[in-house]
């Protein structure tokens, strides 16, 4: 593509660094910004600039935060005896969105996978173990995807916690809500049968 301005070209380059933004989308965004009031671009660049200087990792759970301790960890109404272990911040946000959970989190920042060069020391497992000791955590909920790497990580953490009085649970794996049984794959369906629950007349929200 030929550009009439070197500055536009630079901006297009910069935008197309972002995932799923190609050269054409980048140009559309740049031209849009040029046609708007300059304040809009200022606001955008200022907020981008602040990202790395202002956002840090929470010292307790590793989630992104503006302070040393994130909003969830600092919230006195949340149950610190309960820690939900997740792979990534996105998974943590997904669980927050359910509004079903009032404990705290621990973000591992990856799963054990030698194929990707990730061993137990490369993710935040040690920090979790320390937390269990110091905060006298009562329950750890593993909200980790049921992949080989996920199972390996859960197994490993479980072993590391052996001998401590903390209870370890894994989120239920099974038939999806409003899912058809006949379309559920056999491994999932088999698992759901094995880990069936007594019926207590509860609704899908657990109420």
């Amino acid at each position: 593509m030929k550009y009439t301005s070197k500055h536009i070209e630079d901006a297009v380059e910069a935008f197309s660094m972002l995932p799923s933004i190609g050269k054409k989308s980048a140009l559309r965004l740049v031209l849009y910004l040029l046609q708007q009031e300059p304040e809009k671009s200022d606001k955008l660049s200022a907020s981008i600039k602040q990202l790395h200087t202002m956002v840090k990792s929470c010292k307790v759970c590793n989630a992104y935060s503006d302070h040393d301790i994130c909003m969830i960890c600092a919230d006195q109404s949340r149950n610190r005896r309960q820690v939900c272990v997740v792979e990534s911040i996105r998974d943590m946000m997904a669980i927050e969105d359910t509004q079903q959970y009032n404990g705290t989190y621990h973000v591992l920042g990856g799963l054990i996978s030698p194929l990707d060069g990730i061993g137990p020391d490369d993710i935040h497992i040690d920090q979790l173990l320390e937390r269990v000791k110091e905060d006298s955590v009562e329950e750890i909920i593993m909200a980790i995807p049921p992949s080989i790497e996920g199972e390996t990580t859960i197994f490993y953490i479980n072993k590391q916690l052996k001998g401590q009085s903390v209870q370890i649970s894994v989120i239920a794996r099974g038939v999806s809500f409003s899912g058809d049984l006949e379309y559920t794959d056999e491994i999932t369906l088999g698992r759901s049968l094995v880990s069936r629950m007594p019926y207590k007349g509860q609704t899908m929200n657990g109420e």
Binding site: P114, F155, K159, E186
Partner: protein
């Protein structure tokens, strides 16, 4: 089940080939290099979602076009379906009746298909991975749970091997991690073993009967399952082999070391068998595969016979064709360089309907009977 119509666009050397197929027997004749085998591979690809011969997509696309498209109209259990396998230049897409198929796992086995080609001789001469692939090809077409356990097992194995490779002696300091993989290998591996074990018992008998049928009654040929799991369970086996794993930096125990043992007079067939016996054994394996799939699904797979006539004596060829065409009622495709040889043979066995196509430079022309 049979394919009514096949359309190839830019698939290997076929730019635009369209065939209205016979529901029983279709014969492709033509000189070498004209595209007979490519046509069979196109059929395989549209049924199985993968090429039988080329593992890389780059060898499949017609050089200039940058894409290919295969379309088959399939008659299956009373209804007509349209299957499309295509490459848009970026990725391969599979559709059935214009609905995209999300995963290969979902597609595998939808239109069961078996290829018989000269390369199958590797089933006897090749390494154990060839025979495991043969097993997995059958079992994953008929049993999706098997396929999932197999894929999971292979993933654990890869992780465990990567770990052993990276850590060397230090692997021993990380017992908990190794245990995590061992537990998963055991659970997925045992599932794989149980399915293979049960199937091999059936295959043993099936193989023998097919071998006899092809004309080898006088030979003492046998097939059996070879697996470390027959003597040790995963728990014992993995701990027995642990020292060796650390030294060799890879996993030495599990179903990834399984094999099918082919023997004649209690010795390895590939060492003591004649050319004819070895070829007969290969065909017997393939016929067993066809029968097992047919029995499981309730209809026969599509059978593709690629250029097998140079390799067998006339009696065995006749027995093979008789079995496929007269005894079984599935759809078959046969390629040969010489038209007369095949047509004479089909005449001999009184075949009611068939179509013959001449393939030249990636174009197919129907011969009038």
């Amino acid at each position: 089940m049979y394919i009514e119509k096949l359309k190839l666009s830019n698939y290997k050397n076929h730019q635009a080939t369209q065939l209205n197929l016979d529901e029983r027997v279709n014969i492709f004749v033509g000189n070498n290099g004209m595209g007979k085998t490519n046509l069979l591979d196109g059929l395989y690809m549209v049924c199985y979602g993968r090429s039988y011969f080329s593992t890389k997509e780059i060898h499949i696309k017609n050089y200039d076009a940058g894409y290919y498209r295969l379309e088959a109209k399939v008659y299956k259990q009373g209804s007509h379906e349209k299957a499309v396998v295509k490459h848009d230049g970026k990725q391969k897409l599979i559709e059935v009746d214009d609905v995209a198929i999300e995963s290969m796992v979902e597609y595998l086995g939808r239109y069961p298909v078996i290829m018989i080609s000269p390369g199958d001789i590797e089933l006897v001469y090749g390494g154990s991975e060839v025979r495991r692939r043969f097993l997995d090809q059958i079992l994953s077409q008929v049993d999706k749970t098997y396929l999932k356990h197999l894929m999971a097992y292979n993933r654990v194995l890869k992780q465990r091997n990567a770990f052993l490779k990276q850590m060397g002696d230090r692997a021993k300091q990380n017992a908990h991690l190794v245990e995590a993989w061992n537990v998963q290998m055991a659970s997925h591996g045992a599932a794989v073993f149980n399915v293979r074990h049960k199937f091999l018992e059936e295959l043993e008998l099936l193989f023998k009967s097919k071998y006899d049928l092809l004309g080898g009654q006088q030979d003492d040929v046998a097939l059996s399952y070879k697996s470390q799991l027959l003597s040790d369970d995963f728990h014992e086996g993995l701990s027995k082999h642990w020292e060796k794993d650390v030294v060799l930096r890879r996993s030495n125990f599990g179903v990834h070391r399984d094999d099918i043992l082919l023997q004649k007079d209690s010795m390895l067939l590939r060492k003591v068998g004649s050319q004819g016996q070895i070829k007969t054994a290969v065909l017997a394996l393939k016929l067993s595969q066809i029968e097992h799939i047919g029995a499981t699904f309730g209809y026969l797979p599509i059978v593709l016979l690629d250029d097998i006539f140079d390799k067998l004596d006339p009696l065995r060829i006749k027995n093979l064709i008789k079995e496929l065409v007269c005894e079984q009622q599935g759809q078959i495709f046969i390629t040969d360089a010489f038209k007369l040889r095949l047509v004479d043979l089909l005449h001999d066995i009184n075949l009611p309907s068939y179509k013959v196509w001449v393939i030249q430079d990636g174009e197919a022309e129907l011969l009038e009977a």
